[in-house]
């Protein structure tokens, strides 16, 4: 199976966020970037499929600025991806999920791609737009919120589950397909040192970025805001559990007004 996995660098989860000087996006100065959490699940899923289907290959693809995008591609190679392609974004480019989908689609079209795996969203902008848009641009079905993805060799179909508001759906899909992962069922692996060293020697293919025509309706960041810091909980004092319950329910009804 020829698997393409899309990866994105995001600030590590513990990052203390600050607005950038222009107030439009967040400040990336001194921020450590890592492979996005759901993308990590997608990479793990790609590697599990590769290990279970002889002759499979995993190709990591990313769109974004230097150096962090190249770094997550290196990290993906160290985890076990076979090849990597990078569409380098100009550093001044504002993030735009549809532009990202177009850039990734350009990179993926010439590659063999039975299965394109993504995270369902990235932990920074959480747009959740790239994988469905990629499905449309590649002309294949896409599925979001997927868990438990498996290959059924007998029927040559992928089987997977999706959790929706309606319940837990079970699906079967022939290839090719775009899948956005909800979470991995296995803990994503960590790269071993020899693999990290080896990954540094793998050449990363580069695809040129071209701006989208303006009529495609760009998304322009206007403001990035942090909420006022939470001041800590108001601790409810009580003598008996019954009093605690009574006081809390009264607060929720009368003060917080969240109780029916």
């Amino acid at each position: 199976m020829e698997i393409v996995v899309c990866v994105k660098p995001v600030p590590e989860p513990e990052t203390r966020l600050r607005a950038a000087a222009d107030g439009r996006t967040y400040d990336t100065e001194a921020v450590k970037f890592v492979l996005a959490g759901y993308d990590e699940s997608a990479v793990e899923q790609a590697l599990l499929l590769k290990e279970s289907i002889p002759g499979s290959k995993v190709h990591a693809v990313a769109f974004g600025p230097s150096p962090r995008t190249e770094e997550v591609l290196r990290a993906s190679l160290a985890l076990g991806c076979d090849q990597a392609t990078w569409v380098e974004a100009p550093s001044e480019l504002r993030p735009d999920p549809l532009a990202t989908a177009h850039a990734l689609a350009r990179a993926i079209r010439p590659l063999p791609h039975d299965l394109v795996l993504c995270g369902k969203q990235a932990g920074d902008d959480e747009s959740g737009l790239v994988a469905p848009a990629l499905g449309e641009l590649l002309g294949v079905p896409d599925f979001g919120f997927v868990v438990d993805l498996r290959w059924d060799a007998g029927s040559s179909r992928l089987t997977f589950r999706r959790e929706t508001e309606a319940g837990e759906e079970r699906w079967e899909a022939p290839l090719p397909v775009v899948v956005a992962m909800q979470q991995a069922w296995n803990d994503p692996r960590t790269a071993k040192l020899p693999a990290i060293l080896k990954s540094r020697k793998v050449p990363i293919a580069k695809v040129a970025w071209t701006p989208l025509p303006a009529e495609l309706g760009p998304t322009v960041p206007v403001r990035f805001e942090l909420p006022p810091p939470r001041t800590g909980a108001k601790i409810v004092e009580y003598k008996t559990p019954g009093e605690a319950a009574e006081k809390l329910v009264r607060i929720l009804r009368e003060e917080a007004k969240v109780f029916p």
């Binding site: 737009l129 790239v130 469905p132 759906e169 998304t219 990035f224 605690a244």
Partner: protein, 328 residues
């Protein structure tokens, strides 16, 4: 300044789902009245539910009445939605930010060459342009985006918009323009749907109240304390990663960075210390209550109200008190 809005409806139990009503509310505000709003529905019961749009003054409803829309991928629906938007000269498509809506938005945006945003909590059409506000970084920040160009597609975060006031009108139901989807999109099949393991309660991501349990419950057999409180509140049940990793509850219960992000009106954390992994999944909830025996637990830093003490005493008392005031 006003928009022409197509609302893509979602059915639940044969009726318009709550997120669809919220979409109608937002659409009426954007369009400056019901004349600029068109309703859309797909599925076997699309026609019978179409009249529900009329309750809110929306008279023009397009339906793709076919059971096949109930069991095909969202990709299959995008061509119908885009054709309907073009036919009705809509410039804005609004859908509820459910799993259905969030998957549809990107697909439709790419097909319609539109700007798009998921999980929107505020929309404004002003001299500055079409502005949307949405939480990012798991609710730790918000961004305001200007969606430029002539078309845009939005999914709205559940519970962020009000359902519109009733203003009944007669509905004109028209079959939707339905171009044939590419044959390649027809392969995948939904083979089964089962109720989620969380049981009878509402789904985690669209519940108005969520009660989550953590390691403080000590053993899987104590998790019923959380479930009983949730049941009394009509809430969904969640769990910390410690609980799902230990296998007390399936991974679908997990709230947090590698699980689900929730933003209910009320979030009650029971025996959860508040690792950052968990916090990012629930910090955008409107009101947070923490119940924990450790007064120094980080969960109390993000909570609005805290009860420090033995959850094995407090939670049953709370369940009883909730039942009492609700007359259960």
């Amino acid at each position: 300044m006003s928009a022409r809005v197509l609302v893509v409806g979602e059915l639940r139990d044969g009726h318009l789902a709550d997120p669809t009503l919220e979409s109608v509310g937002s659409a009426l505000a954007l369009a400056g009245g019901p004349e600029g709003v068109v309703g859309f529905l797909a599925g076997a019961s699309a026609r019978s539910a179409a009249s529900e749009y009329g309750r809110y003054g929306v008279a023009d409803v397009r339906v793709a009445e076919s059971g096949s829309f109930d069991s095909v991928p969202p990709a299959f629906l995008a061509p119908v939605v885009v054709a309907t938007a073009s036919e009705t000269r809509s410039d804005t498509i609004v859908v509820g930010g459910t799993t259905f809506g969030r998957d549809l938005t990107g697909r439709v945006a790419a097909r319609w060459n539109a700007a798009a945003a998921n999980g929107v909590t505020e929309v404004r059409l002003t001299g500055e342009g079409f502005l949307v506000r949405r939480p990012v970084f798991g609710g730790r920040a918000t961004e305001t985006l200007r969606l430029e160009g002539p078309r845009r597609v939005l999914s709205l975060r559940p519970h962020s918009f009000s359902a519109p006031e009733e203003k009944p009108t007669e509905v004109r139901v028209t079959p939707a323009a339905a171009p044939e989807p590419a044959p390649g999109l027809l392969g995948p099949k939904r083979v089964a749907v089962a109720p989620i393991a969380s049981g009878a309660g509402p789904g985690l991501t669209d519940a108005a109240i969520v009660v989550s349990g953590g390691r403080g419950l000590r053993a899987p057999e104590n998790f019923h304390l959380v479930e009983e409180l949730a049941q009394a509140l009509g809430a969904a049940v969640g769990a910390s990663r410690a609980v799902t990793d230990a296998g007390w509850r399936p991974p679908s219960f997990q709230v947090g960075q590698t699980g689900k992000t929730v933003s209910p009106q009320l979030y009650i954390a029971v025996g959860i210390s508040g690792a950052i992994q968990h916090i990012v999944g629930m910090v955008s909830s409107r009101v947070i209550v923490a119940i924990n025996s450790d007064a120094t637990a980080p969960i109390f830093k993000v909570a609005d109200y805290g009860l420090v003490g033995d959850l094995f005493e407090i939670v049953p008392a709370l369940t009883a008190e909730v039942r009492r005031v609700r007359g259960l």
